[in-house]
């Protein structure tokens, strides 16, 4: 037992002290923080104010167009040629030329600029003009914009779970988000660290140290020590990511005093109410209220998730899935001589992983209690990912227990299988191995 502990220590320490590990661990939260904070930061800094000169020959917009802080409008008089000449001598962004148009036929409006006009500026100008034309058309037909706005209906449905424990707000976006995030982390870690197990074993084989080691410890101890040691590396990295991300993000927020850009889920949620608000700057007090209402709902929904259950399940499926696949990756490492030979064996292992991740998105999320979701969350090879997606939606206890029990049986089986292949494979050099050969190894007496 103390020997397997020594092996775990070595596997852990050599990896944790590697430069690549330290850099990746430190850099990821920084990148994440940058990803969250930068859009907000950029928005507030939002390009230096632009000035657009306006030559309005129609007179329709005289005194009606209002500039903004970051988009100033300067009215011009005279002919187009003169205006162009004036514009050329300035640093202004563009020259907006409105020919003599009518409300019925507002065509021929042009923007002249020295450089290409940005799409954003063009859209803002278009919106401004559109709204003014609409306004004037409404007035011409005897309608007031205010009256029209009061007639508009805006309804949002909030969903409430009627469970035995009473009513609970739920939010499909939050629930899906929690599930898919957990599933993705598990998927990512199985790949990242499974391959590390494989590489570690190939390294021991090619450097020929393996025979020295297994004259001191049992091959199974060496394999398990490596798998557990690398699992500890994975957990360390994950924990550090969580802590560092939290520290970095809140640190950056405190330093710059900015809200992080909304997460995609929040964006979708608030997007319904606030669509276009940014551009036409029309967010009324009422809409703002609605948006903040949705934010509160989101936080309520997060609060209503069964966090201990989700975290518990996450850790279980994280480790279970890792052990199940990790030992298979280990078996591949033992069966081959170098990394280029791993392809044929990698394929069948990665397929169930990839399929369960794709189906999580496309099928399980839409119908978390459907037959596909059920079966895939029970079968050990797909359950670590699919069950993680289902858990936030609520899974009957018997299904969860069955899935967990099968996963435990599953990794006991794969470790046994891997152990059989491993003990033969590590001492086998220069032999091209196929599946038939591997299946023979299972029954070798060693």
């Amino acid at each position: 037992m103390s020997k397997i502990w020594l092996i775990i220590q070595r596997e852990y320490l050599t990896r944790v002290r590697k430069k690549s590990f330290i850099i990746m661990t430190l850099l990821t939260p920084v990148l994440l923080a940058a990803f969250m904070v930068l859009p907000g930061l950029l928005m507030t800094m939002s390009d230096s104010a632009e000035t657009v000169m306006v030559l309005d020959e129609s007179g329709l917009f005289a005194g009606k167009l209002e500039g903004k802080d970051d988009l100033k409008l300067v009215p011009l008089g005279g002919s187009l040629e003169q205006a162009k000449e004036v514009y050329r001598q300035t640093d202004n962004t563009a020259l907006l030329y409105i020919p003599n148009i009518t409300l019925d036929n507002p065509t021929g409006i042009k923007v002249f600029s020295k450089k290409n006009t940005s799409l954003q500026t063009k859209i803002r100008l278009e919106n401004m003009l559109e709204k003014e034309v609409e306004n004037q058309r409404l007035i011409a037909s005897g309608l007031d914009r205010e009256v029209l706005k009061n007639m508009k209906a805006d309804i949002s449905v909030s969903s409430v779970n009627l469970s035995d424990e009473g009513e609970k707000d739920n939010n499909a976006f939050v629930t899906s988000g929690a599930g898919i995030m957990g599933a993705f982390v598990i998927y990512f870690f199985i790949f990242l660290y499974g391959v590390q197990i494989m590489r570690g074993i190939i390294e021991e084989k090619t450097s020929r140290i393996v025979e020295v080691i297994i004259s001191s410890v049992k091959p199974f101890q060496l394999m398990m020590g490596k798998i557990i040691g690398i699992a500890a590396v994975g957990l360390t990295q994950f924990l550090l990511w969580v802590i560092l991300s939290f520290v970095v993000v809140s640190g950056v927020q405190a330093a710059f005093g900015i809200e992080p850009a909304p997460t995609p889920a929040q964006q979708i949620v608030s997007g319904q109410a606030a669509a276009g608000a940014e551009v036409d700057n029309e967010t009324t007090a009422q809409e703002k209220n609605e948006a903040s209402q949705i934010m509160t709902d989101t936080f309520n929904a997060i609060g209503n998730l069964n966090i201990p259950l989700i975290v518990g399940c996450f850790l279980f499926y994280f480790l279970g899935g890792y052990l199940l696949y990790g030992s298979l990756f280990g078996a591949i490492g033992a069966a081959v001589d170098n990394e280029t030979d791993t392809q044929q064996f990698m394929f069948p292992i990665t397929i169930p992983l990839i399929i369960s991740f794709i189906l999580s998105y496309s099928v399980v999320l839409k119908n978390p209690d459907g037959p596909v979701a059920f079966w895939m969350s029970i079968i050990p090879f797909t359950s670590p990912i699919v069950m993680m997606v289902r858990v936030p939606f609520g899974v009957p206890a018997w299904q969860l227990l069955l899935s967990m029990a099968l996963l435990i049986l599953g990794f006991i089986f794969t470790t046994w299988l891997a152990g059989r292949i491993y003990r033969v494979g590590i001492l086998m050099y220069g032999k091209k191995v196929n599946y038939k050969e591997l299946s023979k190894w299972l029954f070798y007496r060693v």
Binding site: K3, E211, V212, I213, L427, R445
Partner: protein
């Protein structure tokens, strides 16, 4: 097996060879398609240098892997210091495999401590012993370097230290000189002799028999999974020697006595070289006296068969049988 039986076996082995550190008793091992060992038995006396000899593929490595408990025997038993081989013996055995290497990206010192601890040594003990070996092999400035930064010769020294750092009673070296440069090979030879001095038993496994002949006290010859021959080198050579002497000298050698038979004779510018066999129980000194009266003698050497010769003779014998 009952305890009584166990004890009986224990007592028997103890009696049969109080001095043997390892007793191999009827060991057989079959892999999927071929037999690696076929009922091999011999004993290795404690404190000797033992040559496990035989051509490639004879079964030497298979036997070693059974002794080091990497694999198990199909049938037969191995006794270490009179006890049936068990996992606890691992710390008393040091093994330098033919396929050897070290973790390339691990520091020399750390690696040696790790390997010694895996053998069951405490960290403190390993550290103290390591210091002694480091200064002995002049590796001080390399302790903090990664293995991959060391020259091949340096790596070989480190590998050797890894084999003996836990001060095992039995050291097994599989083809120890393959891959070692001549300078390191000599260094290792000296170390092996001093290890024997301190009471360790060393097993040499090699197919290059001439390379270990001078070092070995005892040998076992293995061919095609079977033991061909074993025993002390001197005894074996005595059994196989043919009472033949090589004589080099000046003059014209003409032997007429029926007690001596000339097997081979060359002459060149007044010097001669001849191989003469003693017959009818005559002694080497008789031959010398006989020669001194006739020719001028420069050299008089007994022609002892090399282990290689004996092996070839033995193998061809067994083939004919």
């Amino acid at each position: 097996m009952s305890d009584d039986q166990d004890k009986a076996i224990f007592d028997r082995t103890k009696q049969s060879s109080a001095l043997s550190i390892l007793k191999i008793d009827g060991v057989s091992k079959t892999y999927a398609s071929h037999t690696a060992l076929d009922n091999v038995s011999f004993e290795i006396p404690a404190g000797c240098i033992f040559g496990l000899l035989g051509p490639n593929g004879a079964g030497k490595t298979s036997l070693i892997r059974i002794i080091t408990q990497i694999t198990g025997a199909d049938t037969g038993e191995i006794y270490f210091k009179g006890e049936r081989l068990k996992p606890g013996h691992i710390k008393d055995i040091g093994y330098l495999p033919e396929e050897r290497g070290l973790y390339k990206k691990m520091k020399v010192g750390e690696q040696l401590l790790y390997l010694a601890q895996l053998k069951g040594l405490s960290r403190q003990d390993a550290t103290t012993r390591l210091k002694a070996w480091i200064s002995r092999f002049e590796l001080k400035e390399w302790v903090g370097k990664n293995i991959e930064d060391l020259s091949k010769g340096m790596q070989q020294k480190v590998q050797f230290i890894a084999t003996v750092l836990h001060e095992p009673a039995l050291i097994i070296l599989d083809e120890p000189f393959s891959g070692f440069d001549p300078i390191n090979a000599n260094l290792i030879k000296d170390e092996i002799l001093s290890l024997r001095e301190r009471g360790a038993t060393i097993i040499f496994s090699t197919h290059r028999m001439e390379s270990v002949e001078e070092l070995c006290d005892n040998i076992a010859l293995i061919n095609r999974a079977r033991k061909v021959l074993d025993g002390p080198v001197k005894e074996i050579k005595n059994t196989y020697k043919t009472d033949t002497f090589q004589i080099i000298g000046n003059g014209r050698l003409l032997i007429t006595s029926p007690d001596y038979e000339v097997l081979e004779q060359h002459e060149n510018h007044g010097t001669f070289r001849a191989n003469v066999k003693l017959l009818n129980g005559s002694r080497p000194n008789d031959l010398l006296r006989y020669l001194i009266e006739r020719v001028e003698i420069h050299s008089f050497v007994e022609l002892v068969p090399s282990i290689n010769d004996i092996f070839i003779q033995k193998v061809t014998e067994t083939h004919h049988v």
